[in-house]
Symmetry: C2
Subunit: 335 residues, 2 copies
């Protein structure tokens, strides 16, 4: 079930109109600079990364293994004029990885080139392969899961920041990706929102299996137990993760749950209580290590006051991973 | 997304070895006698229903619309020697409905016969069609959901018993099936455990849509919020159902969660609290109307004492739907 993408990458920006459309490539380069050896842009592409520009042939010669489609455009489509470049990449010896909605395997010239040249196509939004039902058996190793008050509040960013901080301290750990961007960054993972419902927790058990005592799986959360569209994904992920440590992620200026104007946001306190209660079904000693708040919408002083007040209210370290890093949370983890 | 199966049915028992293997047919006949006009058995079939024996041709002449495979055999397979009968049924003008694991569309002779004669094949374990993401918007009509302490504790049976009791009182209602057997009984529904995880709640919103004020959707629950393999399905179903009324189903003699020897059973009290808390995300005034206990493993006197003690402990009507019916629960519903 778990995707494994060969690295290093040639980052394909297509004809992205701006940095927002290139955010997948930007994220991969930010979190995995050593995995990125070049960029490929087509006429009309506005953003430019701090990487050498390369053709497919140059990238393959430099050791690239996979062309990674780093574009997140409107509708998640692969426009027809990319097909030639993609087929050339396969002919030149590269695999292709995509998180877009359009299936590469539905584009005849791309599908045929992959078959002819024996290259892999990774469509991380469309999981394939065997599935297993979770059994919830207690397993070895340590697991941290980022959970959220809502969708898109920084669960992936926080997990990656924690991985980086763990590594700086010499702690054996691995980021486990559960969404498309995370999978492209990590070079593997499983898109848990796309597996059949019976297998959500099982997919996460496979993603973060039993490990030696000192090893940490740092698992990217999805959605929120309080989001009426996706809470089933969040609960299955929580049970499959069998976490001993939770970090709650939050965006403090959101007027309502993402995409649902009628749906009020839950409080930080409600989320801590609900996630702790649900985690105890599989992990009796679960511990909330801290709160990560995305304060991008606030000024520096206001952000500082909010972090201090939230820390005080809940008796937990509270940080903005972008502004101040996650060290205060790592300090509070029960290693 | 929602399956709709044409009725009435010819119940196909195949070569079922005993009543347990014929339990799907027995369930359909028990809950929907008016939808069943005949039975078809092949040599070696032990169970016999209280229905006329008919060939495919006789059943079609008598008005049957669908041959329903009423067998739940080991592995959920369709043995090769059924293919001829199934192809004959399609040639004779019947659709086929199956809840088995083997796909009818993978059996060439059956697939070809369906195409040639323009008949439908319903594989209720494998949902197909468009999906929608739930939005959780408050909607009209009333909804009751059966929830459970575990898998296989009587959620479908209780929902069907409630539907029957509602109808006796002249209440406008409809049973909404979320699993294979329920779908075959109801002639429609959606197998929520098989939809991609992002669409669990959305599938249930579609299954039990907005309705007039006096109308009740009585929704079959699945799994348990406390079952580590399937809780994601249960939570998505709960949110999609947006229930104003819950009925908790329980089996009191189970030593551990079904299939998981290491996993302790939750208490009735824990289940009431967790389901109420989760339902409030979408349904602020949710009310637990009663407890349905499967006392099949207990003697009459012991069962009576347990029901009385449980009712007393939780201040709720507590019944065994098989032994005593569900009237006490219906009496406690806030119509």
């Amino acid at each position: 079930m778990k995707t494994r993408i060969a690295r290093p990458y040639l980052l394909f920006l297509g004809d992205a109109a701006d940095d927002l459309e290139a955010k997948t490539a930007i994220g991969v380069l930010h979190w995995r600079p050593a995995d990125c050896i070049g960029q490929l842009r087509v006429p009309g592409c506005a953003p430019r990364l701090d990487l050498p520009e390369m053709t497919v042939t140059e990238a393959a010669a430099a050791g690239a293994r996979t062309l990674l489609i780093g574009v997140a455009n409107r509708g998640g489509i692969i426009p027809g004029h990319w097909s030639g470049v993609l087929a050339d990449a396969l002919a030149g010896g590269l695999d292709i990885a995509s998180g877009l909605h359009t299936r590469l395997s539905d584009i005849t010239v791309v599908k045929d080139a992959a078959a002819k040249h024996g290259r892999a196509i990774h469509e991380v939004r469309h999981p394939a392969g065997d599935l297993q039902v979770a059994d919830g058996t207690p397993r070895g190793g340590r697991r941290l899961l980022t959970v959220g008050t809502d969708c898109s509040v920084g669960k992936m960013y926080t997990a990656l920041a924690l991985e980086r901080a763990f590594r700086k301290r010499g702690i054996d750990c691995e980021f486990c990706a559960t969404g498309q961007t995370g999978i492209l960054i990590a070079g593997g993972g499983v898109s848990v929102d796309a597996v059949p419902a019976d297998f959500i927790a099982g997919a996460v058990e496979e993603l973060a299996p039993a490990a030696p005592p000192g090893h940490w799986h740092i698992i990217e959360g999805q959605g929120s137990l309080f989001h009426p569209s996706y809470a089933g994904v969040s609960l299955g992920l929580l049970h499959g993760a069998q976490p001993d440590t939770l970090v709650l992620c939050h965006e403090p200026t959101r007027p309502h749950m993402r995409g649902l104007p009628h749906q009020p946001m839950p409080s930080v306190e409600q989320c801590i209580a609900a996630n702790t209660l649900a985690a105890k079904v599989v992990s009796g000693k679960v511990h909330v290590a801290g709160i990560a708040i995305n304060t991008a919408a606030l000024g520096e002083a206001e952000a500082g006051r909010l972090l201090a007040a939230t820390a005080d209210e809940h008796g937990l370290p509270c940080v903005d991973p972008v502004r101040g890093g996650v060290d205060a949370i790592v300090d509070n983890i029960r290693f």
